[in-house]
């Protein structure tokens, strides 16, 4: 796990690979260097639309293109997609036009830019929109594969990527990555840790710490928050009987919220949620932010023990 990469780079690679499809169009809002759509722009300027610093316009230009048979990929910072939420709601999701929105720099892991750039609510708000697929991959390889799969989807999507590097997990394992299917990265029967994005590698480390104490944890990469892999959650409830969710996102409405909603309507199991505790971030290095937000490895391990203690 020594190789590192930022998920936004996986997005940029995928766009380049998708370029062989003449229907793929890339939309930018002056952040192509950051979201990594710039590689596509350099290779295919004729199919790249600069929308200036205008996110509301960008999403609906995408809708117009999608309604005419094109496959638009629009990216900006996660936080700035939110400015166009109503465009996403009324102009994209409602008519079910397959515009693919990528919000990079999601979460407090974004770091030193500070709280204005650290979206902690994007996954929650897009999850509430009918028709919209919501993704938050954990490494460059899965980001690339999921982005490529999105091009074949008939539904709009929101995908969060991260600014900073995390371990590469899926090199040579591309076949395991499917929209809507969580991936078991480690198996144990004491507790299941369900994570997304940058928190997947943190959760794997937590599982190692727990293993040293004789606790065997399953770790799941739930890269798709919607549609949620409810079958897998049922399986984890049966096999482990205690769950932890881990996300670099407000504990309200994100992955923890999605899993909790599923549990209350199905088989209940103890659930501990690790996430940003309903507060805004601040400037700091990525790893420092996970500490400040109390969502790093030791906090996940402690939550796993709390969940296990609640088993009846």
């Amino acid at each position: 796990m020594s190789k590192m990469g930022a998920t936004r780079d996986g997005y940029g690679e995928a766009l380049l690979q998708l370029a062989s499809n003449p229907k793929v169009v890339v939309l930018e809002a002056d952040l192509g260097k950051s979201t990594k759509s710039l590689h596509f722009r350099k290779a295919h300027p004729e199919r790249t639309v600069s929308c200036g610093i205008g996110e509301q316009n960008m999403l609906l230009v995408g809708a117009g293109l999608a309604a005419s048979g094109f496959i638009p990929f629009a990216s900006t910072f996660a936080i700035f997609t939110e400015r166009a939420f109503e465009q996403m709601r009324n102009g994209v999701a409602r008519p079910n036009l397959a515009v693919h929105v990528c919000g990079s720099h999601g979460g407090t892991h974004t770091g030193t830019d500070g709280s204005s750039a650290q979206s902690i609510e994007d996954l929650a708000i897009y999850r509430t929109l009918p028709n919209v697929t919501v993704l938050h991959p954990s490494d460059t390889v899965s980001t690339r594969e999921l982005t490529i799969q999105l091009a074949a989807s008939s539904c709009p999507s929101y995908m969060r990527t991260a600014r900073n590097k995390t371990p590469v997990l899926y090199e040579g394992r591309e076949d395991e990555i499917k929209i809507g299917k969580g991936i078991k990265l480690r198996e144990g029967t004491d507790v299941a840790i369900i994570a997304c994005g940058v928190m997947v590698s943190q959760s794997l480390k937590a599982a190692e710490i727990l293993a040293e104490e004789g606790i065997h944890a399953t770790v799941v990469d739930m890269h798709t928050l919607k549609p949620l892999d409810s079958e897998l959650i049922n399986e984890l409830v049966a096999s482990c009987g205690a769950l932890v969710t881990a996300e670099d996102h407000n504990i309200i409405g994100g992955l923890g919220g999605a899993v909790a909603e599923h549990l209350v309507s199905n088989t209940l199991a103890p659930l501990e949620r690790i996430g940003v505790n309903d507060r805004f971030g601040e400037s700091g290095q990525a790893d420092e932010m996970l500490e400040v937000m109390k969502i790093s490895t030791p906090y996940i391990a402690a939550a796993a023990k709390r969940a296990m203690a609640r088993k009846s």
Binding site: G52, G54, L60, V61, G64, A67, S68, G69, N90
Partner: protein, 271 residues
């Protein structure tokens, strides 16, 4: 011209009927736009009523989507939908949803209802046409109150930047918005100068004079170097005396007596 005027008169009858039957909806902006829509559909739009999804059709985007009775009326007259379909306006399960919706009604290219969105969508449609080397045109109808939405100006700037000569706006300048006259809600100062300064080709017409409308529509779609806007000076509620220039009929239905009077004024019944 007489044929177009008669078409617009029949559409006005449909509009009043729809709003009266539903006892809800937006007659004012439907009546101000209808002469423009009648001329646009009859003289300009390359569309196929029996094949509404024809890929190379011109696109029409009613961004002021509340003025849907006007659009449903012309769609019925053109044969996209039937006159009987108009009875489904605002009725559960009906194809004539309160605001025009591409998922419900044949001939509707854009799901509207939230102001300030249609021009951006039209811009995407225009880029699609250009990428496909198609000669098709995109027409977007905006309301004047609508251009108070900031997102309209994001789109206006971007469309000129991309030199979208196949993108055209018709601005229904009826001077009234939901609560009152535009002048009291948000003064917009020199609207033609604003669009010119954003890089658009601008022409102004009387939006109820058929020969001016036809000339104005001919001005659209001829530019190679950028988008064009036809600013049509109209009267909200035009054609019905008590609705004309009356903010109360932005979004209100006539009562029985008012309905009878409207039918009289439109020549549907004699005194």
């Amino acid at each position: 011209m007489e044929e177009l005027e008669e078409l617009a008169r029949r559409c006005r009858v449909h509009i009043v009927n729809m709003v009266y039957k539903a006892q809800a909806g937006h007659p004012g902006g439907s009546l101000s736009e209808i002469d423009l829509l009648a001329a646009l559909y009859k003289t300009q739009l390359r569309v196929r009523p029996n094949e509404p999804q024809w890929e190379d059709r011109d696109r029409f985007v009613l961004s002021k989507g509340h003025a849907s009775p006007g659009m449903y009326a012309i769609l019925a007259e053109m044969g996209f939908i039937t006159v009987e379909d108009l009875d489904s306006y605002r009725v559960l399960g009906g194809i004539c949803q309160g605001h025009v919706d591409m998922k419900w009604c044949p001939g509707v290219d854009f799901s509207a209802g939230s102001l300030g969105m249609g021009l951006s969508f039209g811009m995407g449609s225009a880029i699609a046409g250009r990428l496909e080397n198609s000669a098709r045109q995109v027409y977007v109808m905006l309301g004047d109150g609508e251009i108070q939405e900031g997102s309209v100006w994001e789109a206006a700037m971007a469309a000129a930047h991309h030199e979208l000569g196949n993108l055209n706006v018709i601005l229904d300048r009826n001077r009234i918005q939901n609560d009152d006259f535009c002048e009291t809600q948000m003064r917009m100062f020199d609207i033609p100068a604003k669009w010119r300064s954003f890089g658009w080709n601008v022409k102004e017409i009387n939006g109820h004079d058929m020969s001016e409308i036809v000339d104005g529509l001919n001005f659209l779609g001829t530019s190679n170097d950028g988008p064009s806007i036809l600013i049509a000076h109209t009267v909200k509620g035009n054609g019905i005396s008590y609705m004309a220039d009356n903010p109360a009929f932005h979004g209100a239905a006539p009562n029985d007596e008012q309905y009878q009077q409207a039918m009289l004024e439109l020549g549907e019944v004699s005194a």
